[in-house]
Symmetry: C2
Subunit: 334 residues, 2 copies
DNA sequence: CAAGTAAATGAAAGCGTATTCATTGTTTCA
DNA sequence: TGAAACAATGAATACGCTTTCATTTACTTG
């Protein structure tokens, strides 16, 4: 690899001048600049990232922390994140917590030693993780959820739950149910919004199928829990709100296997509007989170922080909307 | 961040000795070692990656090059890759080509300047990409396909096509069809295996629905092409082989919308055994590629190369097997 | 035209580590 | 007991870059 030293020799200038040219420092005579650029190009010069980092400038490295990747919800965001970051000249260091806070701590150490310029993260826990991120003293952008004292890009899960209920209400469903975790942070907020809307309108929460938080995307626990519920109770709901699209798929399977037709007998609506909801047949209605935009905005927010254009901490909430598909239909007959 | 210098001061030894202890160099007196380790721990020492890199040792950085991430096929592999790499103490630098060879060239430059120890890649083109990888002079492991002159971890797509045909044959399907690209490298190999098996057994290739190669996972082009075909021709096949699981989903939708029941009227089988095939209802039969294993083995192969334990170039082909699900059923009546 | 100022560049230090080479202290063996 | 071999450590250098400070050159102005 060609170094600045070689360029300096060829161009008959000092290495300092080469550095100035290549880092866009203004005080260089145009002719000198041209000459240096000529040789840089000719030698296919690539700045050594380690040397740059060591010399104190930025690394153009962004640490990314996700719970897992195989989940389409996450991978779609990651896709957008990668695209935006690379467009802006940043490389991405990808790490998964698998929802373990110990793993998260280790990752933070790793990222620190690599001198990342900033971190974009889906933290393990909005409560417990905060202190470790604080201790880093690095720019952090939290996505898909909020964390006290940190910049974040997310959606209102409470409002999301409301919109789901509203959607079902507008289609004429009166008895509705919920499938998902009840005591987990994000899920319970969705559920709360859902319940609050129900309470304020002429609706009834007829079934609550509480599931554990699945460890991985391959987990069948939502399917199994739903199946067991259907074996034990007779379903009273006309429509079910599944906490996310993965759950929605599992619920549809459990329902179908028990002889319910979707949406004929029971409607189902998911959350996230991830790939699964789109590709399923019948396609699954869902609350759309702008996944691509979340990734993109996270990167742009990070850049603003790095450029000092944004100093105060703020949470951005992006818009959501219900995408109505095959799994929910109007029950209102003329 | 604490540096070796600080540890050296506290432990009253030279920085060189600290370096020796921390990099496991043997010639240090046990007491000295203990003392240094004590202080390293106490100061929560984290080695500076840039300095290490610059001083000539390895970076523990692995470059990863994928076409896209949002596709479940890729994201499942990525998940395994990340897990294995981190377990082995490596960080992952993630990049997407979006199937552009120019983008791929740029990525290679980026990775080079970051001094990655090696690259694990799904190259854009097995023919055109090779030269750029060669020029890097870095360890490279190709995955999910083969590239002349490079180490690779993949499956036999030809044999995969054969196995699909064999599966359909064993279930009693005689007239079968294919949906997918016809002139793209990997796809056409699958198709060839499929055709060859058909030719050698009492089967007939009744429909070929040629689709373009979709640009992204969100593309509806496979669905549209299938729909158009169904509008123009009457389907003669009893079973369709879809080039991958995403296509299989689209085919099922198109068929269902045209009034065909799956698998009642037409069976469908996919390729990859990705998340989509598992989560769909009815679930989709598919040829299972060991996605997790591909990721894991790629990392382990890379480590063997880096340790000099593997010097000659070789292609590893992992086992595949047909996963029979709801979308294919036996037509043989007793 | 001298003196002072601005523009352009070079020399050198420093970032944190690995590593070579030199040095010190300790042991071994003739 | 003296020299040689060895074990343990320190001093110093290099890696490629950014940045400060000093120097040179060119230009302005009274």
């Amino acid at each position: 690899m060609a170094s600045m030293k070689e360029i300096a020799q060829k161009a008959k200038v000092s290495q300092a001048t080469v550095s100035r040219v290549l880092s866009g420092h203004p005080v260089v005579k145009p002719e000198t600049r041209q000459n240096v650029l000529y040789w840089a190009k000719k030698l296919n010069y690539q700045p050594n990232a380690a040397a740059r980092s060591l010399a104190g400038s930025s690394t153009n490295l962004l640490g990314i922390i996700f719970p897992e990747i195989a989940n389409p919800f996450f991978s779609e965001i990651l896709d957008a994140l990668e695209e935006a970051a690379n467009f802006e000249g940043y490389q991405i260091l990808l790490n998964c917590t698998h929802k373990s806070i110990d793993r998260e701590k280790n990752i933070l150490n790793e990222l620190k030693r690599h001198n990342v310029d900033g971190i974009i993260t889906i933290p393990v826990s909005s409560d417990d993780s905060a202190q470790y991120y604080k201790a880093l003293n690095l720019p952090v952008v939290v996505i898909t959820k909020q964390m006290e004292g940190f910049n974040s890009i997310s959606v209102s899960h409470y409002q999301g739950g409301q919109k789901i209920a509203q959607h079902l209400h507008s289609l004429g469903y009166q008895k509705v149910g919920y499938v998902g975790p009840v005591n987990q942070s994000t899920s319970s907020i969705k559920f709360q919004g859902f319940r609050d809307f129900i309470a304020e309108h002429d609706m009834e929460l007829s079934d609550v199928i509480e599931t554990p938080v699945p460890a991985t995307i391959d987990s069948l626990v939502m399917y199994q829990t739903t199946k067991e519920y259907l074996n034990s109770y007779s379903l009273r709901s006309q429509a079910l709100f599944a906490n996310d699209d993965v759950t929605a798929c599992d619920v549809i399977r459990a329902l179908s296997e028990k002889g319910y037709s979707v949406p004929g007998d029971v409607a189902v609506i998911g959350f996230d509007n991830s790939l699964l909801a789109k590709k399923m047949y019948p396609s699954v209605s869902s609350l759309s989170q702008p996944l691509h935009e979340i990734g993109q905005q996270a990167v742009h927010l990070m850049l603003r922080i790095l450029n000092g254009e944004q100093t105060e901490v703020s949470s951005y909430l992006l818009d959501t909307r219900v995408i109505s598909r095959d799994s929910t239909v109007s029950t209102i007959t003329a």
